[in-house]
């Protein structure tokens, strides 16, 4: 078999494989939607006045914008400004409401991270034809489209959870990261740089969701981060492979890049 023919065969077989994977993609989202259909009852039942306080315009400060490394405090929303003491006291007095508000804040932040990832992949796909990154191999383009689609589904899932819990959809990119990421994207000049930026976003998402597994209270919110974090980590593995690195470098997921649940500014 000539090399050309061998590659043609490879393409055909891999295309068939991709069709199978597309079917799997379509099959998994309805399952998640079904799971979410009952979402919200546990959170609604725990609504407290703290959620109204926190949702009444308390603007969070102290979020590091200069770097993508996250603050290591999921309860930052109780620690800022002069109103922090009362908010914290409310949380203590009404643990159920505090839990619900914390879960909603985390879900909003997660939607914002997914929106940011969609924005980044979409921007990359739109900029690629101009030659901004040099030649973009087909496999990289396929990955970018696949990852973008999956992040869009993840954002829908997190937002569905928010709406069912009595909140509002969060449709903007993470407010704390959007600026730095845009600057980093603008400065990109080649494909490895793009892959590394995407890797940073994937690691941030995985680590945020993993950290929340020890913090979220509702089973529904836990189910979301549990089923999504592994997929983000597979995106990261792909990107590591793309830049030539070993795809499973860590024995345990780190959390140094995890974003605080307060990132989206929602409670």
């Amino acid at each position: 078999m000539s090399k050309k023919n061998e590659m043609a065969c490879t393409e055909a077989e891999l295309l068939a494989m991709t069709r199978d994977m597309d079917d799997m993609h379509r099959a998994t989202f309805p399952q998640m939607q079904e799971m979410l259909s009952d979402f919200g009852s546990s959170l609604r039942g725990k609504a407290s006045r703290r959620s109204f306080l926190a949702g009444s315009g308390v603007v969070l400060g102290g979020v590091a914008l200069a770097a993508c490394g996250g603050s290591d405090d999921a309860d930052t929303d109780t620690d800022v400004g002069s109103g922090s003491s009362s908010a914290s006291a409310d949380a203590s007095a009404d643990a159920g409401g505090g839990d619900a508000a914390a879960d909603r804040a985390g879900l909003a932040t997660n939607a914002s991270l997914e929106n940011l990832a969609v924005f980044a992949y979409d921007s990359a796909l739109k900029a690629a034809p101009s030659g901004k990154f040099g030649p973009v191999p087909p496999a990289v383009a396929v990955f970018a489209k696949t990852a973008m689609g999956q992040h869009a589904e993840h954002a829908k899932a997190f937002n569905a959870a928010l709406v069912n819990a009595g909140g509002k959809e969060f449709t903007e990119p993470d407010p704390a990261l959007a600026g730095p990421v845009t600057e980093m994207f603008t400065a990109l000049k080649d494909l490895p740089g793009l892959a590394k930026l995407a890797l940073l976003l994937e690691q941030t998402a995985t680590q945020t969701y993993t950290k929340q597994m020890g913090e979220f209270k509702s089973k529904e919110a836990l189910a979301l981060v549990a089923t999504i974090a592994p997929v983000e980590h597979q995106h990261a593995a792909t990107l590591l492979y793309v830049i030539g690195e070993y795809p499973v470098p860590d024995t345990f997921v780190k959390t140094d890049l995890a974003r605080p649940s307060s990132d989206a500014g929602v409670s």
Binding site: P138, T210, M213, G214, F252, D256
Partner: protein
């Protein structure tokens, strides 16, 4: 049939994979720091009774840390720190049993994975591929660390260490060994895919539905996504083998970065076949519990 651990061979393989594994081992400090902080934060916000337990846990943590330092282990193992930061208060409540069961079942899956990769590393066609060999060695080591961490947590919650491989899947793996010896890389990759999927699915379901202790959920979370990367990598390897394109199974450390320009387009999606991790293959918490 029980698969027994060949400790001498295991130690030899550990040495061989040291370079590739060094980064992974360094990463252990992050989750252990997180667990230390989680325990401290939670107890700091709780009532007097939990404060008392916190003090006891801190005393135990300091004792273990001192012991490790005395033994010359500046960083220590993830498992030791998991034990040191366990919450005694939690071990007294009703969620203990299912959490311990889930941890012991997880250990049984990790031990079976270690045995399976160890067996794979004896196969000539695995030894012939530098990248697949490195993957098997590194993955085996990572599963061993996961097993230690789960066992440490089970013991800290009042349970026993699990030392046996998973009772459901061990006979399956053992029964496949003769066929693996006669087969090729694709056969062992498919087996590994199944085991990695079972582990990932089990831990995801434990986080979502079964485990009650937040620190235990977090531990499952730090491991589940790593298993998912094993699974994704194996899916990609399987796709490339099935497409008769093994030349793309390579990384810098084992023969050079992949030639992206020649990599077939669909391979870009091979790592991520699911948008949400399904849990159809999840083992129930009691499947590998110690009687």
């Amino acid at each position: 049939m029980e698969l027994r651990l060949d400790e001498a061979r295991f130690a030899e393989l550990m040495e061989e994979s040291q370079d590739l594994h060094s980064d992974a081992m360094r990463s252990c400090s992050e989750p252990l720091n997180r667990i230390v902080e989680a325990g401290q934060e939670r107890r700091a916000a709780s009532d007097y009774d939990e404060q008392l337990h916190h003090e006891l846990a801190e005393t135990r943590r300091r004792a273990v840390t001192k012991s490790l330092a005395g033994a010359g282990l500046a960083v220590g193992t993830f498992a030791a720190f998991v034990a040191a930061t366990a919450s005694p208060a939690f071990a007294q409540d009703g969620g203990k049993d299912i959490d311990i069961d889930a941890l012991q079942t997880a250990v049984s899956l990790e031990l079976l994975a270690v045995e399976t990769y160890k067996t794979a590393l004896t196969l000539d066609y695995v030894k012939a591929n530098k990248t697949i060999t490195a993957f098997a060695q590194t993955t085996m080591m990572q599963h061993a660390e996961h097993g230690k961490a789960f066992n440490a947590k089970a013991v800290a919650l009042g349970g026993k260490e699990q030392t046996m491989t998973n009772p459901k899947y061990t006979p399956v793996v053992t029964g496949m060994v003769p066929a693996l010896k006669k087969g090729g890389p694709l056969d062992v990759v498919k087996l590994a895919i199944t085991l990695e999927d079972v582990a990932t699915s089990t831990y995801v379901k434990n986080i979502a539905e079964n485990v009650t202790d937040p620190e235990t959920r977090f531990l499952f979370g730090t491991v589940a996504s790593v298993e998912s990367q094993h699974l994704g990598t194996l899916n990609a390897v399987k796709a490339l083998l099935e497409a008769n394109a093994p030349q793309f199974i390579t990384v810098k450390a084992t023969g050079g970065a992949v030639d992206l320009a020649k990599l077939p387009g669909p391979a870009g999606a091979a790592f991520v076949p699911e948008t949400f991790k399904k849990t159809d293959l999840a083992s129930p918490p009691e499947e590998g519990a110690v009687a």
